[in-house]
């Protein structure tokens, strides 16, 4: 399977805290091909942002465990030292738009200089050549060229989000991770940004991993869906099947809690709370909240293969 763009196997990222070990990412396995968009869905604290950090190796200091396998174009990058990872993987192969990144633009640099920087550092381009590339990227994400010389505070939220997207795209990486890219934006701005992402995917073949809790918006881009619960993937499916009929009891409940604009449906919520990532329940992690649990759920279910090539971590599909 050397043609896969990204392969993750049994990736784990645990943090050390005074209360114990937080198992934020606990044995995540999936693969992502070129021209694909994977939506990673889950509630706050399920480990979805940590998953992005683990893939890009953007780790805090209190790491207890970081292991597993990350392959980019078939090449295992885990043995790379930090310098080689920075030069060969981060930003050139996999870039990221962090959560609320649009509020973290440097206020004293013009936006053009911030987008320019990766080209000068990574590719050693001359300023003129780099500027030409920046113009092309700005056009692609829909920032008017006369905004190039502006500062972040002179731009609206939507425009700042486009600038941050331009920063991620400027080295033409085959994969961009997006962590809640539209959650702070208004409805119309959100629709605009999703349109930009769709166009980029169509025109450049860039793959995306879209991390979000906003299920309706994720359906704008996703062709595959991964549902995360308590540090694990519990369902991995193509978007068409998933949005029509989620399989995992958690995914079903999650979808039932999402209102729809165009039809009146009864909303339901999931009783109880997600488990603490420090003190996880034995067996299936969703079992304490699950209405369909049975004796088998006391054991930890593996990822099962279900119909239509879907995967689900639930004994119901054994």
């Amino acid at each position: 399977m050397n043609d896969g763009l990204l392969q993750i196997e049994d990736l784990r990222l645990h943090y050390r805290t005074t209360q114990g070990v937080v198992q934020a990412v606990d044995g995540v396995t999936f693969a992502l091909g070129p021209r694909q968009a994977l939506a990673v869905l889950g509630e706050s604290g399920c480990g979805k942002s940590s998953l992005a950090r683990a893939i890009l190796r953007l780790l805090p200091r209190n790491v207890e465990t970081y292991d597993g396998c990350v392959r980019v174009h078939g090449l295992d990058v885990m043995p790379f030292d930090e310098e080689r990872f920075r030069r060969e993987v981060r930003w050139s192969k996999i870039a990221i738009v962090m959560q609320a990144a649009m509020n973290a633009l440097n206020p004293v640099l013009r936006v053009v200089d911030q987008v320019l920087e990766p080209l000068l550092v990574h590719q050693g381009l001359q300023r003129e050549a780099a500027l030409a590339r920046v113009r092309a990227v700005f056009q692609m994400v829909g920032v008017p060229l006369d905004f190039m010389g502006r500062y972040a505070f002179e731009l609206s939220g939507g425009m700042r989000q486009r600038v941050v997207l331009a920063m991620a795209l400027v080295l033409q990486p085959p994969l961009v991770l997006l962590d809640e890219p539209t959650s702070a934006l208004d409805v119309l701005t959100q629709a605009n940004i999703m349109n930009v992402l769709k166009r980029i995917k169509r025109e450049t073949g860039t793959s995306f991993m879209l991390i979000t809790h906003d299920i309706a918006t994720s359906s704008e881009l996703a062709d595959r869906v991964a549902v995360m619960y308590a540090g694990q993937l519990v369902e991995l499916s193509d978007a068409a099947h998933f949005f029509h009929e989620p399989l995992h009891p958690y995914a079903q409940k999650l979808m039932a809690s999402v209102p729809r604009l165009r039809e009146a449906k009864k909303l339901a919520y999931i009783p109880g709370r997600p488990p603490s990532l420090i003190d996880l329940p034995q067996g299936c992690r969703f079992a304490p909240r699950c209405l369909q649990r049975f004796a088998r759920c006391e054991q930890d279910p593996p990822m099962m293969h279900a119909k239509d090539g879907r995967q689900v971590r639930c004994w119901l599909y054994e």
């Binding site: 706050s44 629709a191 769709k198 704008e220 729809r260 709370r273």
Partner: protein
């Protein structure tokens, strides 16, 4: 204004005066610009609109936190816009406020009991009765068993529990109206449903009127009777939830509804239609209809020069748009 009217808002303007230049006025931000509506007792309405449309300014003016520049607010027939401090004190007991960010709204160094005791002591409730009332409201917002929560500090609670404390605080003085500014936007989908259900139950149990400020049109039908759509400081459309969602009248409402996805895989196949441009500056709003520079159905010579009055093309469904000029104004 009939008998069931709890709150009546008439031609309300909230303008923020900019600092004076050397010569004359610098101008004003017209955050709320001529808003009129009635709210019945026990009724929930949702005010929807994008950031900067003036919806939070409207909420804060109704709460009495800002003095209106012009216009009138009546609560149970009592004028609030020109009230003295005694009437205002009475009014503040009748309205509760539920903020957007529960963690930011709760003082981090007070526990739940002290957070809830404060409004009671400010309004002169005696100590013996305070504890009893605190227990009542905690029960009402389902923070039970009470003993588990009453000594907790905000950071020890989940987002949903924090929002329940905020709601409990708003309910303490038995208000008749709650203003909730994006009460669930910081919460996860499943917790959102729980909190909205809680507010719905409080509404019917106490015949509580609720004004929701929100941008989440998909959820609106689950917690309110009417929708007001706000754009550029004005309410451009008012209607019953089902009517407005099924048959939006104003081109801005139509654009807004088109931009919102439902969770379907087919969304990835097509682009969404979005009107060009940005919302208007509230400092220099465009002449005529505020939406005309972005409107696909604009009538030149009319929409760009004259402000549309309110038309009622369908019963109880009103809009500020010249498209409906042949219907009853």
């Amino acid at each position: 204004m009939d008998n069931s009217t709890l709150l009546a808002v008439r031609n309300l303007h909230t303008w923020y005066e900019l600092r004076q230049r050397v010569f004359g006025r610098a101008g004003a931000v017209r955050a709320v610009d001529d808003v009129t509506f009635d709210l019945a007792a026990g009724e929930a309405i949702a005010v929807v609109g994008e950031s900067g449309c003036g919806k939070s300014s409207l909420a804060k003016t109704i709460l009495g936190l800002y003095r209106p520049t012009r216009g009138e607010i009546f609560f149970q027939g009592q004028p609030i816009h020109s009230a003295n401090s005694q009437t205002l004190r009475w009014y503040h007991r009748q309205v509760g406020f539920v903020q957007q960010d529960p963690y930011g709204a709760l003082p981090p160094f007070l526990n739940v009991r002290r957070i809830l005791a404060e409004p009671l002591s400010i309004h002169g409730i005696r100590k013996a009765q305070r504890e009893e009332r605190i227990r009542e409201v905690l029960e009402e917002v389902k923070l039970v068993p009470i003993a588990d929560f009453i000594t907790k500090f905000p950071h020890m609670l989940s987002g949903g529990q924090q929002q329940r404390v905020v709601i409990a605080r708003a309910m303490l003085l038995r208000p008749q109206l709650i203003v909730a500014d994006e009460p669930v936007s910081m919460l996860d989908a499943s917790v959102r449903v729980e909190i909205l259900e809680l507010l719905r139950n409080l509404q019917s149990a106490h015949r509580l009127a609720i004004i929701y400020i929100t941008h989440d049109l998909s959820a609106v039908r689950h917690f309110s009777e009417r929708i007001f759509v706000m754009y550029g400081g004005q309410i451009v459309e008012k209607g019953q939830v089902a009517d407005l969602l099924r048959h939006p009248l104003h081109p801005y409402t139509q654009a807004l509804l088109r931009a919102i996805p439902d969770a379907d895989a087919a969304n990835a196949e097509t682009d969404r239609e979005v009107p060009p441009g940005e919302p208007p500056s509230l400092l220099h709003p465009p002449p005529g209809c505020r939406f005309h520079p972005r409107c696909p159905l604009v009538t030149p010579g009319l929409c760009d020069t004259q402000e549309p009055p309110e038309f009622e093309p369908e019963p109880l469904h009103l809009t500020l748009c010249w498209l409906y000029k042949d219907t009853t104004p």
